[in-house]
Symmetry: C2
Subunit: 485 residues, 2 copies
């Protein structure tokens, strides 16, 4: 496979700023940028971080080709020395991030970049794109998987995805979020996500009769025949023909692994009727797959109505995260080093208090209760703070500081891993399967209240006292309006 180079997949302003930093000497300054988000899509209680794998590949390939530089020169706004500098441009900084599959919450850094200003700025667009897309789909897929409550969920959405990547790596993210497989062959080839599928309506239409189509399929694929029963009339012809084909071709061979797929009509009603017909024919082993514009809301309703469905095939509403198709990750300056190497925290003020950033180079801790194993709260600290789990630790709500809680008998885990150090990849990437398992394990540490679809409990993301003081000092300083550093 040829590796894509997405160096030029950047907002043009990254380049105008880079050229500016180059000219005024800022390009040597070490800067700290955080990636975080403010709201969970679909008003959920948490998101699942994903996209780090794409970022690693991107950073490894990061460089400007001669054609890229020629193109930039043609714009006639960049300095010749800057274009020269781009020839040898590589990433030389550090990247810290939560591992893929980690449940994350608003306002905490999913990823932190420490790098010279130009490098940190240039990689903004792609880093956001990768995290926003992969986290969006992993989070959405997990909602759907939770709604299915143990039944299998398969990703079926390639044809409605927003571009080829949307399909191929969208299915990757869906697997992290808990889907058991995909219809996308290329995702299996590239990432090992099990691909499956049997027939479309056109298969049925190609034959003289529906029964011929079913029988032929069972003969060719006796080990996994899932027959699509809604081409003409689900209950009057589809299910009876399927039963006939199963009984004539598969049952005599002792095969029990087969199914039917419902792709239109009222899935609840049809699945119950079909189940009854199959059972009456002695085909209790026959599975029922449903696949018609499903999402977590429809699946929840189908489960409530006790629809007889074993497997949900979920397409467009998963692969585009239709009900909330944007993950709003942002990339904000948190600190700058001065010439002596002192880290100067930076803040972005806003009239909208929710948009005020958490300044400084930070660490992210998660506290787990030793008894229940459940996650209690997260805390953002200044980079040089350390939490000693052997001692009680008092946390407080940053928006209501009189609300405090003292933790005892807990474990504090630092969530960030070091991914790149001085431009070198130092992180051993887990396999996709390992990421999926890790994600499922981490979700077990969340209380059900956080996982609820409607009005989930707001998980605590607190600031350490030291960080809170620094933030408030910066806010105070900005108030006088004179010094707007």
């Amino acid at each position: 496979m040829n590796k894509d180079n997405f160096t030029m997949l950047c907002d043009f302003y990254e380049l105008t700023m880079a050229n500016g930093y180059f000219k005024n000497g800022f390009y040597k300054r070490t800067t700290y940028f955080d990636v975080f988000f403010r709201n969970v899509p679909d008003n959920g209680g948490f998101a699942i971080a994903a996209g780090l794998d794409q970022i690693i590949e991107y950073i490894k390939e990061l460089h400007f080709s001669a054609e890229d530089i020629e193109f930039l020169r043609s714009k006639k706004i960049f300095d010749e020395e800057f274009l020269e500098y781009l020839k040898d441009f590589r990433f030389t900084g550090d990247i810290y991030a939560v591992p893929e599959g980690t449940p994350v919450f608003p306002h905490e850094p999913v990823l932190t970049v420490k790098a010279p200003a130009i490098e940190a700025q240039l990689i903004e667009t792609y880093i956001l794109l990768a995290i926003n897309h992969q986290s969006l789909i992993a989070t959405k897929a997990n909602r759907i998987v939770r709604a299915a409550n143990g039944r299998t969920v398969l990703e079926f959405g390639s044809r409605r995805a927003q571009g080829a990547d949307g399909a191929v790596i969208g299915a990757r993210a869906a697997y992290i979020g808990g889907c058991a497989g995909t219809a996308c062959t290329l995702t299996d080839f590239k990432y090992g996500v099990p691909a499956g599928g049997t027939m479309a309506h056109s298969w049925v239409q190609m034959f003289d009769t529906e029964y011929d189509a079913f029988r032929t399929y069972c003969e060719i694929y006796p080990d996994n025949a899932v027959l699509l029963v809604d081409t003409y009339n689900t209950l009057k012809s589809g299910v009876p023909n399927a039963i006939k084909a199963f009984k004539e071709v598969l049952v005599p061979k002792g095969i029990t692994n087969f199914g039917i797929r419902l792709d239109s009509g009222d899935i609840s009603y049809l699945s119950k009727k079909a189940r009854k017909m199959l059972d009456e024919a002695g085909l209790q082993c026959c599975k029922i797959v449903a696949s018609n514009s499903l999402d977590e809301y429809l699946i929840r309703d189908l489960m409530m109505q006790e629809a007889k469905i074993d497997t949900f095939g979920v397409g467009e509403r998963l692969i585009t995260a239709k009900s909330a198709p944007v993950f709003g990750g942002v990339y904000k300056l948190a600190a700058v080093e001065d010439e002596q190497g002192n880290i100067i925290p930076k803040i972005k003020i806003s009239e909208n208090t929710a948009k005020i950033t958490n300044p400084h180079y930070k660490k992210l801790y998660r506290f787990y209760d030793n008894e229940s194993g459940k996650a209690l709260a997260d805390e953002l600290c200044v980079y040089d703070e350390t939490i000693d789990s052997t001692k009680p630790h008092t946390i407080f709500d940053p928006d209501a500081i009189w609300k405090t809680k003292t933790l005892t008998n807990y474990t504090a885990r630092e969530l960030h891993v070091t991914v790149f150090k001085n431009g070198e990849l130092v992180y051993k990437q887990p396999s996709l399967y390992e990421i999926r398992i890790y994600c499922a394990e981490q979700l077990e540490t969340l209380w059900d209240e956080v996982k609820r679809f409607e009005n989930p409990h707001t998980y605590y993301v607190d600031l350490s006292k030291k960080l809170w003081d620094i933030k408030n000092a910066l806010l105070e300083k900005s108030k006088d309006g004179k010094d707007l550093k």
Copy 2:
């Protein structure tokens, strides 16, 4: 640039069906498949067809590599002869399609494939993906451009796109739909869509004061300084500092091409206040750019409130088509050739009448009124019908056949062009710029009633009498439930 090969970007069932067709001899059968959609996103009156360029590149590259075949072999369900056959697999059929940028309506074939069954089946997923994604974004972008009513709209959404393709070719589709440019550098490099951009909040934060940041930018980029004025306080510091920088650096040089960008807060209020401040400072030439979660609905409101905005930068709501992020194109079998080469029409029945397909190998005509130049109706005909514009032509509503209309003084244009003939590309692709111009011209032929956002007029897509008769005969035939061909 390395060309991607998306042959394996197919639903797995395309391969199981292909193997089945290979085994039972159907693979030699010539089949006809139509791509069409049933609903316009956002309840709009029309869509803009796009994605043909991606399909052409895909078909040209279509082949299975040795690794692809090895991977398929590992699945242990495909016949060895079929895998052998895939080694030399190429597309040998015909593709007909409406040119990119054509306004299209529900139920009409945007693209028709005529090819041996396996080939036609294998290309389904990617063809749908390309048309669905590109048409989705072109259609959405055009809605936003129409709302802006002549003011400039720029595409700013890369960081929130659903994958790299979503960003890069999403911006391409947005350009077809009428956006004047993009923030995405790679889209400019690859497709020539003008990329632009100036600064992020981080630029402002990097300097000791906001004024320093603005002044430095004006000095480096005197010809196109657009200053982001909302890092601290838009009206108290951002706009005054921008005015100061413009007056000190640019005005003395006689430069008049500069602007400010509003990216948060109440854009209507802030733009009016900022306009007043700029005008009072004698900077009537200063443009105002706005860019905060905009879409056609917000822009329409801002226009109604007479917000003082010259340019709209539209991000996540365009690049993901947030309000309706799925374009529901489908790929349905329309006909099959028998061994004598007779074309046998095929229909897909559904209890939902809107889901019943239009059978047969078809042509698509659009009628234009010679006087007004406006499009009057479209008509689907059987492939061997021809419409003679010199004679009156009577059209009728296929759902209410007593409603007829006789056209005189009209021009009938066949909308499909031949793209591939016997596997050879015979279509001369227009440039992206030409597609954009063609799209704008074609939109001029639509009545305003069709372009309305709320309850648009339903444009007529009729069937010829011959096609209507064939469809009804197939429906009658299916009613008895005996022969379900």
